[in-house]
């Protein structure tokens, strides 16, 4: 990937993760409503607390991406996070957007892998 396009993708994804984190902080219970009942039943802690944890993770991923600090790790964690979101929220009208974010995170991770970790 060209350097400029990499940075556009990195900053764009960073803003997405940061803003979603902020919105979850604003109303964790409402965001918890996206969880499928079977997934919510598996939680060992109250739903609101789990969503606050999700918000912290989202913001951490966003900060790492924005500061260009270990972007491959942030993108990897972001991709796994989105995969889990896809699994526990089921297929909805906005699933396609999550798929786009997932592939963007994967592209960013592949492109920013340290040289010694590349195939």
């Amino acid at each position: 990937m060209k350097k400029t396009s990499f940075h556009f993708l990195r900053v764009g994804l960073a803003i997405t993760f940061l803003w979603i984190g902020v919105l979850i902080f604003k109303n964790p219970e409402a965001w918890g409503g996206y969880l499928q009942p079977w997934a919510a039943g598996l939680l060992p802690i109250p739903l609101a607390q789990a969503m606050i944890g999700t918000a912290i993770l989202d913001i951490a991923i966003g900060v790492f991406l924005l500061f260009d600090f270990l972007p491959w790790l942030a993108a990897l964690v972001g991709a796994i996070h989105i995969l889990i979101v896809l699994a526990v929220s089921g297929i909805t009208d906005i699933t396609v957007r999550d798929i786009g974010l997932l592939v963007a995170a994967l592209a960013l991770m592949i492109d920013s892998l340290p040289q010694d970790k590349r195939c």
């Binding site: 803003i15 902080f25 604003k26 500061f67």
Partner: protein, 136 residues
């Protein structure tokens, strides 16, 4: 909330710009200069710091503070009136400072720095958003 979302987004863009400038300065590298070609000249001029603090550090502090305040205002972490006032005041101050730095590039240094102009336009856009949102 829309205006805070835009302010948060612009702050995040500002953070990425200033982090890039700080990194290149610390590594003693020349920044990529897509337009103008005078980035190195402007960034190494005697106007590149206020007292002893480099402008890129001041910019980063401003953008980080603006992003935190925008987030606090959205989440509802008080004191909301004070946060709102501080955000508006800092953007007004930043707008005036950016005008001064743009004047320096135009009339004093006679060179244009892409990153400095991008930061200036980011702050001016933030000012415009605050202005428009307070009018409607």
């Amino acid at each position: 909330m829309t205006s805070y979302a835009l302010l948060f987004t612009l702050s995040a863009i500002g953070i990425s710009e200033t982090v890039y400038l700080i990194r290149t300065r610390i590594a003693s590298e020349k920044p990529v200069c897509p337009i103008g070609g005078g980035c190195a000249l402007v960034l190494t001029s005697k106007y590149n710091k206020i007292f002893i603090v480099p402008n890129d550090i001041l910019g980063l502090l401003f953008y980080v503070a603006a992003s935190f305040i925008s987030a606090f205002l959205v989440i509802g972490v008080g004191p909301l009136v004070l946060w709102d006032f501080i955000l508006k005041l800092s953007v007004v101050f930043g707008t005036i400072l950016s005008l001064f730095f743009t004047y320096l590039q135009w009339r004093v240094i006679h060179a244009w720095c892409f990153w400095c102009l991008m930061s200036a336009f980011t702050i001016w856009f933030m000012g415009a958003i605050i202005l428009v949102s307070s009018l409607i």
